[in-house]
Amino acid sequence: MENEVRAGGLQIHKVNKWYPGNVHAVINMDMEIEQGEFIVFVGPSGCGKTTLLRMIAGLEGISSGEIIMDGRVVNKVPPKNRDIAMVFQNYALYPNMKVKNNIAFPLKMRHTKKQEAAARVAEVAKKLELDTLLERKPGALSGGQRQRVALARSLVRRPKLFLMDEPLANLDAKLRTEMRREIIALQRELGVTTIYVTHDQIEAMTMGTRIAVMNCGVLQQFGTPQEIYQNPANLFVAGFIGSPNMNIWDTRIVSYNAQQFLTLGEARIPIDISGLPGEQLQEPLKAGIRPEHIELASKNEPGAIRMEISLLENTGREVAVFLVASGIPNLTIMTNADFSGQIGHEIYIRLKQEKIHIFNGERGHALRL
């Protein structure tokens, strides 16, 4: 294997994890992570993201494949020798130690001089506003404070790699938003390669420089938030990322007067498929469009589709409008908060043709337009 030596770089090469009982939790995982990147593993629970993170940490054995840090295969290297720091979902603070000793623990274990350790604890405590809590024990802290202590403990050293396993999952919404920004700012400042596991797509989109979307142990797509959002590689990614979900329906390509149309139930949407090989279009197809790519139209506009409002979800900033019509799949659209329609009203919509994604209906992969 030829591996360039990169500080803080991480390569995951054909990594597999089997659990007893023939459970294949992580399947042929391949990833190249550059120094300083903020990588988010996202996926539904049980998708293997935490298992992969634990394999990187060395807390879980690797059934096959290689994990390479700085050009060195670390499969058999114990966690303490991997130069990593990890934040656990349930914080995993040391309950018998004061906050300052919790934070200092990684330094103590690496025989950092006492004075230097104290200075670094003070520095990181100040950064995370823990200075007044240093003498307390974890039992006397709130959830948010514990979370910050866990973060401080991982930050106190300058590891090659930060691993974070859903560190914000147990916080309330407001604190979560705050901590999210804090973590992003810290990571940008320190420039330490970070792998962040979450099932929350908002966290994934806002935090990651690149996102690895996983499902059933398989890497579905690995790319920037924009790539993942704008060009989902398959139906799973299309459906998982984005809220409200992408509208997805079974479709066919039909020709009429030398013009190609995409079916939307009984409706027909003109579409340019010149870039797609014909044989791919013979198989069952699915089409998808994000709610914000469906526009309101006027009654007389050519191609406008008439639908009925079945439900409204007003978030204050915008309104998700759920539409039904006979012979047409249900659709969700996003409109401005000043939308005046009511449940039961008729409205007319138009799909932005260039924003429609087409997928193979059976295997789910995207057919690029």
């Binding site: 914080y91 995993a92 603070l93 990684p106 959830g143």
Partner: protein, 279 residues
């Protein structure tokens, strides 16, 4: 009002526990005459029932003086008990705690079989293993030495069982965090296992102390030399005409376990383990 009733109720229950202790204490202040008068119906063939006043009518420290100044063998026996029980407890901590940690935190071949064996050994009463223990100790030339009591006691399986249960309640994430933070398995045991398992260790210590402080079978079986006898055997051999000394000796015998328990109680608090985790 309700509170007063609850207090009264609890006080009554507590009184039941304290009555024998009170009787013991008040008895120590009675002279031989008063004692034999009170106990005559039990000890001699008197009529009626034994009577026991709440306070001694003629309080005297005579029995105390007799035990403390005229009964040197009492101190010898007391020292014997200490000499046998404290090394056993030390053994429980030094041998038992690491064994328990291994059972609770590591996966190794044969763990289940070994643990089952431990439990089986724990369930066996002394009488079952007495003969085989005797033969082994005899072969080792330890019969009639304190080691005959100390070595089997120190390797007892009950404390391992108790501590294992406690160590198992320490969340895996805590020790994993330590591993990531750079702690070796031994450091993890010393810095996290012992402090977090302290309630379990203390429970084992308190229970072990009570068991071995009061043990009679093993000393009786393995110690022929009476100068090696611990308090438990000595107490059983004080005769009725020496009831006063017996009562004080009982009181003194009671002190170490009581102190151990009072000391241990502080550490027997539960719930500290999970306080490092999420709410």
């Amino acid at each position: 009002m309700k509170k007063i009733f609850i207090c009264l109720f609890l006080f009554m229950i507590a009184a039941f526990v304290w009555v024998p202790l009170w009787m013991l204490s008040s008895g120590t202040l009675m002279g031989p005459g008063e004692l034999s008068e009170n106990l005559a119906p039990v000890l001699e063939s008197g009529d009626g029932f034994a009577a026991w006043p709440i306070f001694a009518f003629y309080p005297t420290f005579q029995a105390y003086a007799e035990l403390l100044f005229d009964t040197p063998q009492f101190f010898n026996v007391f020292w014997n008990s200490c000499k046998q029980v404290f090394p056993i407890i030390l053994g429980h901590i030094v041998l038992g705690a690491p064994a328990a940690w291994a059972f609770a935190r590591f996966d190794f071949r044969g763990k289940k079989v070994l643990y089952t064996l431990y439990i089986v050994l724990m369930l066996m009463p002394f009488q079952v293993t007495m003969v085989s223990s005797y033969l082994v100790l005899n072969k080792l030339g330890l019969i009639d030495t304190a080691w005959a009591i100390i070595l089997p006691g120190a390797a007892s399986t009950l404390p391992v069982f108790i501590m294992t249960r406690f160590f198992m309640t320490i969340p895996g994430a805590v020790t994993e965090a330590a591993a990531v933070d750079g702690a070796s398995p031994i450091q993890t045991f010393l810095r996290l296992g012992i402090p977090l398992g302290a309630p379990g260790i203390l429970s084992a210590v308190v229970l072990g102390f009570l068991e071995y402080w009061n043990a009679m079978e093993a000393p009786q079986a393995f110690l022929k030399d009476q100068t090696l006898w611990p308090l438990s055997l000595y107490m059983a051999n004080i005769t009725a005409d020496n009831a006063g000394v017996s009562l004080i000796a009982s009181l003194i015998t009671l002190m170490p376990p009581l102190l151990i328990f009072m000391f241990g109680q502080k550490y027997l608090e539960q719930g500290i383990i999970s306080s490092g985790m999420k709410d």
